[in-house]
């Protein structure tokens, strides 16, 4: 499984390097912005159920077609009113804009994204907090999204991505009022669909491209 993780990281890096090296010739050079934002995330299709998260992010734009997203999220999921599943995500994604010239004043700027993150999961029996287990792991995510550019510097972004955990999951078995929390013996590809709504502001220009 570590091999798969390593392959995914290499893929993301190659994607990043490839885009930064090959794309952008013959285009109007736009300034490279540093953005800061707040985000809320809906987690769905998790084996635990669905939940809500809160977090923040910053973006470093690389060129006209490539942006990078560095984020942190805290998501909690209620499992049948018996178990609380807390997720902490810290990671990064590469955003690629497939269509040229859709920056402000154009309103919609779609993108595809892929990335990697570290994740921490803790499951706790709601009625008995001493019954708890946690694990650290890593994950890979990919999806699509769009910026909605409200001003030159302010955008609202909607992203939908699937995150696959590359680790041994913590499992909660519920039998009436008896909750058993245990670590899976082997690794499985399990994940969740994350829909994120974020508000971002371009704070300063990192550098100006020579025309």
């Amino acid at each position: 499984m570590l091999g798969l993780h390593s392959i995914w990281m290499k893929f993301c890096l190659l994607l990043f390097i490839g885009f930064t090296q090959t794309i952008g010739f013959g285009q109007e050079k736009l300034p490279r912005w540093f953005s800061l934002g707040a985000r809320t995330t809906l987690s769905a299709f998790d084996h635990d159920g669905s939940g809500l998260g809160t977090g923040g992010q910053f973006r470093i734009q690389v060129n006209n077609r490539v942006n990078t997203d560095w984020f942190a999220d805290y998501i909690t999921i209620n499992v049948n009113d018996k178990v609380r599943s807390d997720y902490y995500h810290i990671g990064w994604s590469v955003l690629f804009y497939p269509f040229e010239g859709l920056h402000y004043p154009k309103r919609f700027q779609p993108y595809i994204l892929a990335g990697h993150c570290f994740d921490y999961n803790r499951k706790t029996a709601i009625l008995d907090p001493s019954n708890s287990k946690d694990r650290w792991g890593s994950a890979a995510q990919a999806g699509i999204g769009t910026h909605f550019n409200l001003t030159e510097r302010f955008d609202v972004s909607l992203t939908c991505q699937y995150m696959i955990h590359l680790t041994k999951e913590i499992e909660a078995e519920i039998d009436g009022n008896i909750v058993t929390i245990s670590e899976q013996k082997s690794r499985h590809l399990e994940g969740h669909l994350l829909t994120t709504l974020s508000l971002n502001y371009k704070i300063f220009k990192l550098w100006n491209q020579k025309k």
Binding site: L52, T54, Y74, T76, N78, R84, I126, L150, R153
Partner: protein, 188 residues
Amino acid sequence: MEPKKIIYWILLLVFPICLNAQEKISIPTGLVSGQLTLAPSYMFQDRTGQFYAHGSLEVFLQPKVSFIGEGFYHLGSLGDKKTFDVNHNIFFGLGYHFTKGGHDLLLALQPGVSFTQLNEQENKLIQSHFGVNPVVAPTVGYTFYMSRFFHFFVQSKLVIGSHKYDVQKSLTEFRFSAGLGFNINTLK
């Protein structure tokens, strides 16, 4: 007093302030706006009212865009039913403004966290635990900047989230704030 008379007196009081505002007031980049007030709320699951001390600070990054940080300190419940002993909140986010002169309509989305603890007696618990829960709050507000230093505001907020400690409880509630705020232009 008849409703028509009430409207007449409100217009009589507000109209001169509006006229004054239209002459001079605008909302520039760098405006810092602060508010401290009391906010009642309605919690949908338990059909209870809550009361908060509400403080907020807003910085205009552009004339139409602001960064907003808000805090709610739970003061207690209205009525006999007391589901939560603690339900404090912190929100942070960006807002988009529709402005004309001193009039400002705000639309914002604010992620945040809720610090909660259930009331043991009401929820029949031996011991309740302190919890931290993610929440999100779509917000609509109207502000009237009447001078370089003061403004009136009204704001409503739908807080969405759930408490997941000891017993699962919905934190979804409607909050309303209004009052006097202070503002200063930091870039002039």
